[in-house]
Assembly symmetry: C3
Homo-oligomer: 211 residues x 3
Protein backbone atom coordinates (compact mmCIF):
# COMPACT_ATOMS: atom_id res chain seq x y z
CA UNK A 1 0.00 0.00 0.00
CA UNK A 2 1.52 3.28 -1.07
CA UNK A 3 -0.24 5.01 1.81
CA UNK A 4 2.08 3.09 4.11
CA UNK A 5 5.13 3.27 1.87
CA UNK A 6 8.46 3.47 3.58
CA UNK A 7 8.53 7.08 4.72
CA UNK A 8 12.29 7.39 4.22
CA UNK A 9 11.94 6.54 0.57
CA UNK A 10 9.28 9.18 0.07
CA UNK A 11 11.47 11.67 1.92
CA UNK A 12 14.49 11.00 -0.26
CA UNK A 13 12.35 11.29 -3.38
CA UNK A 14 10.96 14.57 -2.11
CA UNK A 15 14.48 16.00 -1.73
CA UNK A 16 15.34 14.87 -5.26
CA UNK A 17 12.15 16.41 -6.67
CA UNK A 18 12.89 19.61 -4.80
CA UNK A 19 16.39 19.79 -6.26
CA UNK A 20 15.36 19.12 -9.87
CA UNK A 21 12.47 21.59 -9.78
CA UNK A 22 14.81 24.16 -8.19
CA UNK A 23 17.16 23.68 -11.14
CA UNK A 24 14.30 24.20 -13.60
CA UNK A 25 13.32 27.37 -11.73
CA UNK A 26 16.90 28.64 -11.74
CA UNK A 27 17.19 28.04 -15.49
CA UNK A 28 13.88 29.81 -16.12
CA UNK A 29 15.17 32.75 -14.06
CA UNK A 30 18.39 32.78 -16.06
CA UNK A 31 16.45 32.98 -19.30
CA UNK A 32 14.90 36.19 -17.95
CA UNK A 33 18.33 37.41 -16.82
CA UNK A 34 17.27 37.74 -13.20
CA UNK A 35 19.84 38.59 -10.55
CA UNK A 36 21.38 35.86 -8.37
CA UNK A 37 18.97 36.30 -5.48
CA UNK A 38 16.00 36.43 -7.85
CA UNK A 39 17.24 33.11 -9.21
CA UNK A 40 17.10 31.60 -5.72
CA UNK A 41 13.61 33.01 -5.14
CA UNK A 42 12.23 31.61 -8.40
CA UNK A 43 13.94 28.26 -7.71
CA UNK A 44 12.30 28.18 -4.29
CA UNK A 45 8.82 29.05 -5.50
CA UNK A 46 9.07 26.38 -8.22
CA UNK A 47 10.43 23.71 -5.90
CA UNK A 48 8.08 24.12 -2.94
CA UNK A 49 5.05 25.81 -4.60
CA UNK A 50 3.14 22.68 -5.61
CA UNK A 51 3.63 20.90 -2.29
CA UNK A 52 2.77 24.05 -0.35
CA UNK A 53 -0.59 24.42 -2.10
CA UNK A 54 -1.19 20.68 -1.60
CA UNK A 55 -0.52 20.92 2.14
CA UNK A 56 -2.64 24.06 2.58
CA UNK A 57 -5.55 22.19 0.96
CA UNK A 58 -5.05 19.03 2.99
CA UNK A 59 -5.20 21.21 6.10
CA UNK A 60 -3.32 18.49 7.88
CA UNK A 61 -1.00 20.49 10.11
CA UNK A 62 1.72 22.85 8.93
CA UNK A 63 3.12 23.13 5.42
CA UNK A 64 5.92 20.56 4.92
CA UNK A 65 8.92 22.91 4.83
CA UNK A 66 7.86 24.96 7.86
CA UNK A 67 9.85 22.91 10.32
CA UNK A 68 12.26 21.40 7.79
CA UNK A 69 14.99 23.94 7.13
CA UNK A 70 16.80 21.55 4.79
CA UNK A 71 14.43 22.42 1.91
CA UNK A 72 15.70 26.01 1.92
CA UNK A 73 19.29 24.74 1.74
CA UNK A 74 18.59 22.16 -0.96
CA UNK A 75 16.96 24.82 -3.12
CA UNK A 76 19.74 27.37 -2.51
CA UNK A 77 22.43 24.79 -3.20
CA UNK A 78 20.70 23.56 -6.36
CA UNK A 79 20.34 27.15 -7.63
CA UNK A 80 23.98 27.97 -6.82
CA UNK A 81 25.29 24.81 -8.48
CA UNK A 82 23.15 25.51 -11.55
CA UNK A 83 24.66 28.98 -11.92
CA UNK A 84 28.21 27.71 -11.36
CA UNK A 85 27.89 24.82 -13.80
CA UNK A 86 26.46 27.10 -16.45
CA UNK A 87 29.23 29.66 -15.84
CA UNK A 88 31.93 27.05 -16.37
CA UNK A 89 30.39 24.86 -19.07
CA UNK A 90 28.23 27.32 -21.05
CA UNK A 91 26.07 24.43 -22.19
CA UNK A 92 23.03 26.71 -22.30
CA UNK A 93 20.22 24.71 -23.79
CA UNK A 94 16.53 25.13 -23.25
CA UNK A 95 16.29 21.31 -23.27
CA UNK A 96 17.84 21.11 -19.82
CA UNK A 97 14.96 23.14 -18.42
CA UNK A 98 12.49 20.69 -19.97
CA UNK A 99 14.50 17.72 -18.74
CA UNK A 100 14.55 18.85 -15.11
CA UNK A 101 10.94 19.98 -15.33
CA UNK A 102 9.92 16.49 -16.50
CA UNK A 103 11.88 14.89 -13.66
CA UNK A 104 10.22 17.13 -11.09
CA UNK A 105 6.81 16.43 -12.63
CA UNK A 106 7.43 12.68 -12.25
CA UNK A 107 8.58 12.82 -8.64
CA UNK A 108 5.98 15.28 -7.36
CA UNK A 109 3.06 13.59 -9.12
CA UNK A 110 3.84 10.38 -7.28
CA UNK A 111 4.34 12.12 -3.94
CA UNK A 112 1.07 14.02 -4.39
CA UNK A 113 -0.90 10.84 -5.03
CA UNK A 114 0.79 9.04 -2.12
CA UNK A 115 0.13 11.90 0.33
CA UNK A 116 -3.51 12.13 -0.73
CA UNK A 117 -3.94 8.37 -0.32
CA UNK A 118 -2.27 8.54 3.09
CA UNK A 119 -4.88 11.16 4.02
CA UNK A 120 -7.67 8.78 3.08
CA UNK A 121 -8.84 10.65 -0.03
CA UNK A 122 -10.68 8.90 -2.86
CA UNK A 123 -8.83 7.67 -5.95
CA UNK A 124 -10.18 10.48 -8.15
CA UNK A 125 -9.22 13.20 -5.69
CA UNK A 126 -5.82 11.58 -5.19
CA UNK A 127 -5.21 11.77 -8.94
CA UNK A 128 -6.16 15.46 -8.86
CA UNK A 129 -3.69 15.96 -6.02
CA UNK A 130 -1.01 14.19 -8.05
CA UNK A 131 -1.52 16.48 -11.04
CA UNK A 132 -1.74 19.51 -8.76
CA UNK A 133 1.42 18.71 -6.78
CA UNK A 134 3.27 17.86 -9.97
CA UNK A 135 2.26 20.86 -12.06
CA UNK A 136 1.55 23.85 -9.77
CA UNK A 137 5.19 24.60 -8.87
CA UNK A 138 6.08 24.81 -12.54
CA UNK A 139 2.89 26.75 -13.20
CA UNK A 140 3.85 29.44 -10.68
CA UNK A 141 7.36 29.50 -12.17
CA UNK A 142 5.95 30.04 -15.66
CA UNK A 143 3.46 32.74 -14.58
CA UNK A 144 6.16 34.64 -12.64
CA UNK A 145 8.73 34.32 -15.42
CA UNK A 146 6.00 35.41 -17.84
CA UNK A 147 6.37 32.26 -19.95
CA UNK A 148 3.43 30.44 -21.49
CA UNK A 149 2.60 27.86 -18.77
CA UNK A 150 3.71 24.31 -19.61
CA UNK A 151 0.30 23.24 -18.31
CA UNK A 152 -1.36 25.09 -21.19
CA UNK A 153 1.03 24.27 -24.00
CA UNK A 154 0.26 21.91 -26.81
CA UNK A 155 2.54 19.00 -25.93
CA UNK A 156 1.22 16.43 -23.45
CA UNK A 157 2.00 17.62 -19.92
CA UNK A 158 -0.77 17.25 -17.36
CA UNK A 159 -1.73 14.08 -19.19
CA UNK A 160 1.72 12.64 -18.47
CA UNK A 161 1.18 13.40 -14.80
CA UNK A 162 -2.27 11.81 -14.84
CA UNK A 163 -0.93 8.68 -16.57
CA UNK A 164 1.64 8.18 -13.85
CA UNK A 165 -0.95 8.73 -11.15
CA UNK A 166 -3.27 6.17 -12.74
CA UNK A 167 -0.37 3.74 -13.03
CA UNK A 168 0.44 4.19 -9.34
CA UNK A 169 -3.07 3.58 -8.03
CA UNK A 170 -3.54 0.64 -10.41
CA UNK A 171 -0.32 -1.11 -9.38
CA UNK A 172 -1.16 -0.36 -5.77
CA UNK A 173 -4.64 -1.85 -6.21
CA UNK A 174 -3.12 -5.09 -7.50
CA UNK A 175 -0.84 -5.30 -4.49
CA UNK A 176 2.44 -4.44 -6.18
CA UNK A 177 5.13 -3.45 -3.67
CA UNK A 178 5.11 0.29 -2.94
CA UNK A 179 8.66 0.92 -4.12
CA UNK A 180 8.13 -0.88 -7.44
CA UNK A 181 4.84 0.93 -8.00
CA UNK A 182 6.39 4.32 -7.23
CA UNK A 183 9.42 3.85 -9.47
CA UNK A 184 7.26 2.53 -12.32
CA UNK A 185 4.81 5.42 -12.02
CA UNK A 186 7.62 7.97 -12.04
CA UNK A 187 9.11 6.32 -15.11
CA UNK A 188 5.71 6.53 -16.83
CA UNK A 189 5.40 10.27 -16.20
CA UNK A 190 8.96 10.99 -17.29
CA UNK A 191 8.87 8.82 -20.40
CA UNK A 192 5.44 10.06 -21.54
CA UNK A 193 6.52 13.67 -21.08
CA UNK A 194 9.90 13.32 -22.78
CA UNK A 195 8.34 11.32 -25.61
CA UNK A 196 5.73 14.06 -26.04
CA UNK A 197 8.51 16.65 -26.31
CA UNK A 198 10.65 14.54 -28.62
CA UNK A 199 7.89 13.40 -30.96
CA UNK A 200 5.79 16.53 -30.45
CA UNK A 201 2.85 14.41 -29.29
CA UNK A 202 -0.35 16.20 -28.44
CA UNK A 203 -3.97 15.47 -27.67
CA UNK A 204 -6.79 16.72 -29.88
CA UNK A 205 -7.35 20.43 -29.45
CA UNK A 206 -10.61 22.19 -28.52
CA UNK A 207 -10.92 25.22 -30.75
CA UNK A 208 -13.49 27.85 -29.79
CA UNK A 209 -12.97 31.03 -31.72
CA UNK A 210 -16.20 32.87 -30.95
CA UNK A 211 -16.16 36.65 -30.94
CA UNK B 1 -31.35 33.64 8.48
CA UNK B 2 -29.11 32.73 5.57
CA UNK B 3 -26.57 31.26 7.97
CA UNK B 4 -29.11 28.55 8.68
CA UNK B 5 -30.45 28.29 5.13
CA UNK B 6 -31.57 24.87 4.04
CA UNK B 7 -28.24 23.15 3.41
CA UNK B 8 -29.60 21.12 0.53
CA UNK B 9 -30.52 24.25 -1.37
CA UNK B 10 -27.04 25.69 -0.94
CA UNK B 11 -25.60 22.36 -2.04
CA UNK B 12 -27.66 22.26 -5.23
CA UNK B 13 -26.73 25.84 -6.01
CA UNK B 14 -23.08 25.00 -5.48
CA UNK B 15 -23.28 22.20 -8.04
CA UNK B 16 -24.94 24.56 -10.52
CA UNK B 17 -22.30 27.24 -9.93
CA UNK B 18 -19.58 24.63 -10.36
CA UNK B 19 -21.05 23.49 -13.68
CA UNK B 20 -21.50 26.98 -15.15
CA UNK B 21 -18.02 28.14 -14.12
CA UNK B 22 -16.60 24.91 -15.54
CA UNK B 23 -18.27 25.75 -18.85
CA UNK B 24 -16.78 29.25 -18.82
CA UNK B 25 -13.36 27.73 -18.11
CA UNK B 26 -13.75 25.21 -20.93
CA UNK B 27 -14.73 27.96 -23.37
CA UNK B 28 -11.76 30.10 -22.29
CA UNK B 29 -9.50 27.08 -22.86
CA UNK B 30 -11.04 26.54 -26.28
CA UNK B 31 -10.27 30.12 -27.25
CA UNK B 32 -6.61 29.35 -26.55
CA UNK B 33 -6.89 26.06 -28.46
CA UNK B 34 -5.84 23.96 -25.50
CA UNK B 35 -5.96 20.17 -25.73
CA UNK B 36 -8.90 18.23 -24.29
CA UNK B 37 -7.24 17.48 -20.96
CA UNK B 38 -6.05 21.07 -20.64
CA UNK B 39 -9.68 22.07 -21.13
CA UNK B 40 -10.70 19.91 -18.18
CA UNK B 41 -7.88 21.32 -16.04
CA UNK B 42 -8.81 24.95 -16.77
CA UNK B 43 -12.49 24.14 -16.20
CA UNK B 44 -11.60 22.64 -12.83
CA UNK B 45 -9.43 25.52 -11.69
CA UNK B 46 -12.13 28.00 -12.65
CA UNK B 47 -14.94 26.04 -11.01
CA UNK B 48 -13.33 25.22 -7.68
CA UNK B 49 -10.65 27.94 -7.44
CA UNK B 50 -12.71 30.63 -5.70
CA UNK B 51 -14.26 28.26 -3.17
CA UNK B 52 -10.91 26.63 -2.48
CA UNK B 53 -9.25 29.94 -1.57
CA UNK B 54 -12.32 30.80 0.53
CA UNK B 55 -12.10 27.54 2.47
CA UNK B 56 -8.34 27.81 2.99
CA UNK B 57 -8.88 31.27 4.50
CA UNK B 58 -11.79 30.18 6.68
CA UNK B 59 -9.51 27.45 8.01
CA UNK B 60 -12.63 25.58 8.99
CA UNK B 61 -11.66 22.01 8.22
CA UNK B 62 -10.79 20.64 4.80
CA UNK B 63 -11.42 22.32 1.45
CA UNK B 64 -14.97 21.52 0.25
CA UNK B 65 -14.14 19.16 -2.63
CA UNK B 66 -11.59 17.11 -0.68
CA UNK B 67 -14.09 14.51 0.40
CA UNK B 68 -16.68 15.25 -2.29
CA UNK B 69 -15.62 13.45 -5.44
CA UNK B 70 -18.76 14.62 -7.27
CA UNK B 71 -17.17 18.02 -7.97
CA UNK B 72 -14.50 16.39 -10.13
CA UNK B 73 -17.20 14.57 -12.08
CA UNK B 74 -19.43 17.62 -12.47
CA UNK B 75 -16.52 19.64 -13.84
CA UNK B 76 -15.37 16.85 -16.17
CA UNK B 77 -18.91 16.28 -17.44
CA UNK B 78 -19.52 20.01 -17.96
CA UNK B 79 -16.25 20.34 -19.88
CA UNK B 80 -17.01 17.27 -22.02
CA UNK B 81 -20.55 18.43 -22.80
CA UNK B 82 -19.24 21.89 -23.70
CA UNK B 83 -16.81 20.42 -26.21
CA UNK B 84 -19.42 18.08 -27.67
CA UNK B 85 -22.09 20.76 -28.02
CA UNK B 86 -19.62 23.11 -29.68
CA UNK B 87 -18.47 20.34 -32.03
CA UNK B 88 -22.02 19.64 -33.16
CA UNK B 89 -23.55 23.12 -33.14
CA UNK B 90 -20.58 25.37 -33.95
CA UNK B 91 -22.36 28.25 -32.25
CA UNK B 92 -19.01 29.71 -31.16
CA UNK B 93 -19.72 33.04 -29.59
CA UNK B 94 -17.72 34.85 -26.97
CA UNK B 95 -21.04 35.88 -25.41
CA UNK B 96 -21.59 32.38 -24.07
CA UNK B 97 -18.42 32.66 -22.05
CA UNK B 98 -19.69 35.95 -20.56
CA UNK B 99 -23.13 34.45 -19.92
CA UNK B 100 -21.84 31.45 -17.97
CA UNK B 101 -19.28 33.61 -16.20
CA UNK B 102 -22.07 35.93 -15.02
CA UNK B 103 -24.14 32.97 -13.82
CA UNK B 104 -21.20 31.57 -11.87
CA UNK B 105 -20.48 35.01 -10.42
CA UNK B 106 -24.10 35.20 -9.18
CA UNK B 107 -24.17 31.76 -7.58
CA UNK B 108 -20.74 31.87 -5.94
CA UNK B 109 -21.15 35.40 -4.59
CA UNK B 110 -24.24 34.28 -2.69
CA UNK B 111 -22.60 31.08 -1.44
CA UNK B 112 -19.52 33.02 -0.32
CA UNK B 113 -21.60 35.47 1.71
CA UNK B 114 -23.72 32.67 3.20
CA UNK B 115 -20.67 30.60 4.21
CA UNK B 116 -18.98 33.61 5.79
CA UNK B 117 -22.14 34.45 7.74
CA UNK B 118 -22.43 30.81 8.83
CA UNK B 119 -18.87 31.15 10.18
CA UNK B 120 -19.88 34.16 12.26
CA UNK B 121 -17.95 36.76 10.27
CA UNK B 122 -18.95 40.43 10.25
CA UNK B 123 -21.11 41.87 7.45
CA UNK B 124 -18.18 43.69 5.82
CA UNK B 125 -15.95 40.62 5.83
CA UNK B 126 -18.84 38.50 4.54
CA UNK B 127 -19.21 40.86 1.58
CA UNK B 128 -15.48 40.55 0.89
CA UNK B 129 -15.87 36.76 0.99
CA UNK B 130 -18.77 37.02 -1.45
CA UNK B 131 -16.74 39.03 -3.96
CA UNK B 132 -13.74 36.75 -3.42
CA UNK B 133 -15.65 33.50 -3.87
CA UNK B 134 -17.46 34.92 -6.90
CA UNK B 135 -14.49 36.41 -8.70
CA UNK B 136 -11.32 34.45 -7.84
CA UNK B 137 -12.11 31.33 -9.89
CA UNK B 138 -12.60 33.47 -12.98
CA UNK B 139 -9.54 35.50 -12.06
CA UNK B 140 -7.33 32.39 -12.00
CA UNK B 141 -8.91 31.29 -15.30
CA UNK B 142 -8.09 34.65 -16.90
CA UNK B 143 -4.52 34.76 -15.55
CA UNK B 144 -3.81 31.19 -16.73
CA UNK B 145 -5.42 31.74 -20.14
CA UNK B 146 -3.46 34.99 -20.36
CA UNK B 147 -6.64 37.07 -20.85
CA UNK B 148 -7.14 40.48 -19.27
CA UNK B 149 -8.89 39.57 -15.97
CA UNK B 150 -12.63 40.33 -15.93
CA UNK B 151 -12.01 41.74 -12.47
CA UNK B 152 -9.86 44.49 -13.96
CA UNK B 153 -11.85 45.28 -17.08
CA UNK B 154 -13.86 48.40 -17.58
CA UNK B 155 -17.40 46.99 -17.40
CA UNK B 156 -18.95 46.58 -13.95
CA UNK B 157 -17.92 43.18 -12.55
CA UNK B 158 -16.85 43.08 -8.91
CA UNK B 159 -19.45 45.78 -8.31
CA UNK B 160 -22.18 43.42 -9.56
CA UNK B 161 -20.97 40.85 -7.06
CA UNK B 162 -20.91 43.42 -4.25
CA UNK B 163 -24.45 44.60 -5.11
CA UNK B 164 -25.78 41.07 -4.80
CA UNK B 165 -23.96 40.55 -1.52
CA UNK B 166 -25.40 43.78 -0.14
CA UNK B 167 -28.88 42.74 -1.31
CA UNK B 168 -28.49 39.38 0.44
CA UNK B 169 -27.43 40.74 3.83
CA UNK B 170 -30.08 43.49 3.65
CA UNK B 171 -32.94 41.11 2.88
CA UNK B 172 -31.61 38.77 5.55
CA UNK B 173 -31.50 41.61 8.06
CA UNK B 174 -35.17 42.38 7.42
CA UNK B 175 -36.09 38.76 8.02
CA UNK B 176 -36.86 37.77 4.43
CA UNK B 177 -36.93 33.99 4.00
CA UNK B 178 -33.49 32.59 3.10
CA UNK B 179 -34.54 31.10 -0.22
CA UNK B 180 -36.22 34.32 -1.41
CA UNK B 181 -33.22 36.38 -0.32
CA UNK B 182 -30.79 34.06 -2.06
CA UNK B 183 -32.68 33.94 -5.34
CA UNK B 184 -33.16 37.72 -5.34
CA UNK B 185 -29.49 38.36 -4.62
CA UNK B 186 -28.41 36.02 -7.41
CA UNK B 187 -30.77 37.76 -9.81
CA UNK B 188 -29.27 41.14 -8.81
CA UNK B 189 -25.71 39.99 -9.57
CA UNK B 190 -26.67 38.40 -12.87
CA UNK B 191 -28.85 41.29 -14.09
CA UNK B 192 -26.35 43.99 -13.07
CA UNK B 193 -23.51 42.13 -14.79
CA UNK B 194 -25.44 41.36 -18.00
CA UNK B 195 -26.78 44.93 -18.13
CA UNK B 196 -23.22 46.23 -17.71
CA UNK B 197 -22.09 44.10 -20.65
CA UNK B 198 -25.08 44.94 -22.83
CA UNK B 199 -25.16 48.68 -22.14
CA UNK B 200 -21.40 48.91 -21.58
CA UNK B 201 -21.94 50.36 -18.11
CA UNK B 202 -18.88 51.32 -16.13
CA UNK B 203 -17.92 53.18 -13.00
CA UNK B 204 -15.75 56.32 -13.10
CA UNK B 205 -12.12 55.47 -13.83
CA UNK B 206 -9.05 56.40 -11.75
CA UNK B 207 -6.37 57.53 -14.16
CA UNK B 208 -2.82 57.79 -12.82
CA UNK B 209 -0.34 58.18 -15.63
CA UNK B 210 2.76 59.20 -13.71
CA UNK B 211 6.15 58.28 -15.14
CA UNK C 1 13.09 39.17 22.02
CA UNK C 2 11.10 40.13 18.95
CA UNK C 3 8.90 37.09 19.45
CA UNK C 4 7.62 38.79 22.59
CA UNK C 5 7.65 42.34 21.20
CA UNK C 6 4.98 44.66 22.48
CA UNK C 7 1.94 43.43 20.54
CA UNK C 8 0.49 46.92 20.26
CA UNK C 9 3.55 48.16 18.43
CA UNK C 10 3.38 45.33 15.95
CA UNK C 11 -0.34 46.02 15.48
CA UNK C 12 0.21 49.71 14.75
CA UNK C 13 2.99 48.87 12.30
CA UNK C 14 0.68 46.38 10.61
CA UNK C 15 -1.95 49.07 10.06
CA UNK C 16 0.68 51.41 8.62
CA UNK C 17 2.01 48.70 6.31
CA UNK C 18 -1.54 47.92 5.21
CA UNK C 19 -2.20 51.57 4.39
CA UNK C 20 1.02 52.13 2.42
CA UNK C 21 0.65 48.92 0.40
CA UNK C 22 -2.99 49.85 -0.26
CA UNK C 23 -1.78 53.17 -1.68
CA UNK C 24 0.73 51.37 -3.92
CA UNK C 25 -2.05 49.06 -5.12
CA UNK C 26 -4.38 52.00 -5.80
CA UNK C 27 -1.68 53.78 -7.81
CA UNK C 28 -0.94 50.61 -9.80
CA UNK C 29 -4.69 50.34 -10.53
CA UNK C 30 -4.77 53.99 -11.62
CA UNK C 31 -1.96 53.37 -14.08
CA UNK C 32 -4.19 50.73 -15.69
CA UNK C 33 -7.17 53.10 -15.58
CA UNK C 34 -9.28 50.74 -13.51
CA UNK C 35 -12.65 51.86 -12.19
CA UNK C 36 -13.02 53.09 -8.60
CA UNK C 37 -14.15 49.75 -7.19
CA UNK C 38 -11.41 47.93 -9.08
CA UNK C 39 -8.98 50.33 -7.42
CA UNK C 40 -10.24 49.28 -3.99
CA UNK C 41 -10.01 45.59 -4.94
CA UNK C 42 -6.41 45.88 -6.15
CA UNK C 43 -5.50 47.94 -3.08
CA UNK C 44 -6.98 45.23 -0.87
CA UNK C 45 -5.23 42.33 -2.59
CA UNK C 46 -1.90 44.17 -2.40
CA UNK C 47 -2.33 45.17 1.23
CA UNK C 48 -3.50 41.88 2.71
CA UNK C 49 -2.17 39.38 0.13
CA UNK C 50 1.25 38.76 1.63
CA UNK C 51 0.00 38.38 5.19
CA UNK C 52 -2.87 36.16 4.06
CA UNK C 53 -0.52 33.68 2.36
CA UNK C 54 1.75 33.82 5.43
CA UNK C 55 -1.14 33.00 7.77
CA UNK C 56 -2.46 30.19 5.57
CA UNK C 57 0.99 28.61 5.66
CA UNK C 58 1.44 29.06 9.40
CA UNK C 59 -1.89 27.26 9.79
CA UNK C 60 -2.15 28.90 13.17
CA UNK C 61 -5.85 29.71 13.34
CA UNK C 62 -7.74 32.04 11.01
CA UNK C 63 -6.23 34.54 8.60
CA UNK C 64 -5.49 37.83 10.41
CA UNK C 65 -8.20 40.03 8.84
CA UNK C 66 -10.99 37.47 9.24
CA UNK C 67 -12.17 38.85 12.54
CA UNK C 68 -10.60 42.28 12.18
CA UNK C 69 -12.93 44.41 10.07
CA UNK C 70 -10.66 47.44 10.44
CA UNK C 71 -8.34 46.18 7.69
CA UNK C 72 -11.13 46.49 5.13
CA UNK C 73 -11.76 50.06 6.25
CA UNK C 74 -8.08 51.04 6.32
CA UNK C 75 -7.63 49.76 2.77
CA UNK C 76 -10.81 51.43 1.50
CA UNK C 77 -9.90 54.73 3.18
CA UNK C 78 -6.33 54.62 1.85
CA UNK C 79 -7.60 53.92 -1.68
CA UNK C 80 -10.18 56.71 -1.46
CA UNK C 81 -7.69 59.25 -0.12
CA UNK C 82 -5.21 58.27 -2.85
CA UNK C 83 -7.80 58.96 -5.55
CA UNK C 84 -8.87 62.26 -3.96
CA UNK C 85 -5.34 63.53 -3.46
CA UNK C 86 -4.42 62.67 -7.02
CA UNK C 87 -7.60 64.35 -8.29
CA UNK C 88 -6.78 67.61 -6.50
CA UNK C 89 -2.99 67.71 -6.81
CA UNK C 90 -2.31 65.92 -10.11
CA UNK C 91 1.18 65.08 -8.89
CA UNK C 92 1.13 61.83 -10.87
CA UNK C 93 4.55 60.32 -10.59
CA UNK C 94 5.52 56.70 -10.82
CA UNK C 95 8.01 57.40 -8.04
CA UNK C 96 5.22 57.57 -5.48
CA UNK C 97 4.25 53.98 -6.28
CA UNK C 98 7.85 52.91 -5.68
CA UNK C 99 8.05 54.96 -2.48
CA UNK C 100 4.96 53.40 -0.93
CA UNK C 101 5.93 49.97 -2.19
CA UNK C 102 9.32 50.29 -0.45
CA UNK C 103 7.63 51.40 2.79
CA UNK C 104 5.27 48.42 2.67
CA UNK C 105 8.16 46.09 1.91
CA UNK C 106 9.99 47.38 5.00
CA UNK C 107 7.06 47.05 7.39
CA UNK C 108 5.81 43.66 6.21
CA UNK C 109 9.27 42.09 6.07
CA UNK C 110 9.74 42.86 9.73
CA UNK C 111 6.26 41.67 10.69
CA UNK C 112 6.77 38.46 8.72
CA UNK C 113 10.03 37.65 10.51
CA UNK C 114 8.54 38.53 13.91
CA UNK C 115 5.43 36.36 13.37
CA UNK C 116 7.54 33.42 12.20
CA UNK C 117 9.81 33.74 15.25
CA UNK C 118 6.75 33.96 17.50
CA UNK C 119 5.63 30.65 15.96
CA UNK C 120 8.92 29.04 16.88
CA UNK C 121 10.28 28.69 13.35
CA UNK C 122 14.03 28.49 12.62
CA UNK C 123 16.00 31.58 11.65
CA UNK C 124 16.27 30.54 7.98
CA UNK C 125 12.54 29.85 7.67
CA UNK C 126 11.78 33.11 9.47
CA UNK C 127 13.82 35.00 6.89
CA UNK C 128 11.89 33.25 4.12
CA UNK C 129 8.66 34.32 5.84
CA UNK C 130 9.94 37.89 6.01
CA UNK C 131 10.68 38.01 2.29
CA UNK C 132 7.39 36.26 1.53
CA UNK C 133 5.25 38.56 3.67
CA UNK C 134 7.05 41.60 2.33
CA UNK C 135 6.98 40.75 -1.36
CA UNK C 136 3.93 38.57 -2.12
CA UNK C 137 1.31 41.33 -1.80
CA UNK C 138 3.17 43.44 -4.33
CA UNK C 139 3.76 40.35 -6.45
CA UNK C 140 0.02 39.65 -6.71
CA UNK C 141 -0.54 43.37 -7.47
CA UNK C 142 1.98 43.24 -10.30
CA UNK C 143 0.67 39.97 -11.77
CA UNK C 144 -2.94 41.25 -11.69
CA UNK C 145 -2.04 44.66 -13.10
CA UNK C 146 0.02 42.84 -15.73
CA UNK C 147 3.21 44.69 -14.76
CA UNK C 148 6.63 43.02 -14.65
CA UNK C 149 6.82 41.89 -10.99
CA UNK C 150 9.12 44.04 -8.83
CA UNK C 151 10.40 40.75 -7.44
CA UNK C 152 11.85 39.87 -10.85
CA UNK C 153 13.15 43.26 -11.92
CA UNK C 154 16.79 44.14 -12.09
CA UNK C 155 17.06 46.56 -9.15
CA UNK C 156 17.63 45.06 -5.70
CA UNK C 157 14.24 44.17 -4.18
CA UNK C 158 13.97 40.82 -2.41
CA UNK C 159 17.58 41.37 -1.35
CA UNK C 160 16.53 44.55 0.46
CA UNK C 161 13.89 42.53 2.28
CA UNK C 162 16.39 39.80 3.17
CA UNK C 163 18.93 42.39 4.46
CA UNK C 164 16.34 43.82 6.84
CA UNK C 165 15.35 40.36 8.02
CA UNK C 166 18.98 39.47 8.67
CA UNK C 167 19.45 42.75 10.53
CA UNK C 168 16.41 42.02 12.69
CA UNK C 169 17.45 38.51 13.75
CA UNK C 170 21.05 39.65 14.32
CA UNK C 171 20.08 42.57 16.56
CA UNK C 172 17.62 40.31 18.33
CA UNK C 173 20.33 37.70 18.87
CA UNK C 174 22.55 40.30 20.54
CA UNK C 175 19.73 41.27 22.88
CA UNK C 176 18.90 44.67 21.38
CA UNK C 177 15.47 45.91 22.52
CA UNK C 178 12.67 44.74 20.22
CA UNK C 179 11.52 48.23 19.25
CA UNK C 180 15.03 49.41 18.35
CA UNK C 181 15.69 46.24 16.37
CA UNK C 182 12.40 46.54 14.49
CA UNK C 183 12.86 50.21 13.58
CA UNK C 184 16.47 49.63 12.50
CA UNK C 185 15.53 46.64 10.36
CA UNK C 186 12.72 48.59 8.66
CA UNK C 187 15.13 51.45 7.97
CA UNK C 188 17.58 48.98 6.41
CA UNK C 189 14.96 47.57 4.02
CA UNK C 190 13.69 51.01 3.04
CA UNK C 191 17.12 52.60 2.57
CA UNK C 192 18.54 49.65 0.64
CA UNK C 193 15.52 49.60 -1.66
CA UNK C 194 15.40 53.37 -2.27
CA UNK C 195 19.17 53.46 -2.79
CA UNK C 196 18.86 50.61 -5.30
CA UNK C 197 16.21 52.59 -7.21
CA UNK C 198 18.08 55.88 -7.03
CA UNK C 199 21.53 54.56 -7.92
CA UNK C 200 20.17 51.73 -10.06
CA UNK C 201 21.99 49.16 -7.94
CA UNK C 202 21.71 45.55 -8.94
CA UNK C 203 23.23 42.18 -8.17
CA UNK C 204 25.09 40.17 -10.79
CA UNK C 205 22.73 38.65 -13.32
CA UNK C 206 22.40 34.97 -14.27
CA UNK C 207 22.08 34.82 -18.03
CA UNK C 208 20.91 31.55 -19.54
CA UNK C 209 19.98 32.01 -23.16
CA UNK C 210 19.73 28.41 -24.28
CA UNK C 211 17.34 27.59 -27.09
Amino acid sequence: MIAGADVEWIQTLDYIGTAVFAISGALAAGRKQMDVFGVVVLAMVTAVGGGTIRDMMLDNGAVFWLHATEYIWIVSAAAAVTMLVEKTTRVSSYRWLEFFDAAGLAVFTVIGVAKAQANGLSVEISLVFGVMTGTFGGLIRDVLANDVPHLLRREIYATASLSGGLCLVTLDYFGVAALTAILTAMAVVFVVRMAALYFKLSLPVFNYQGK
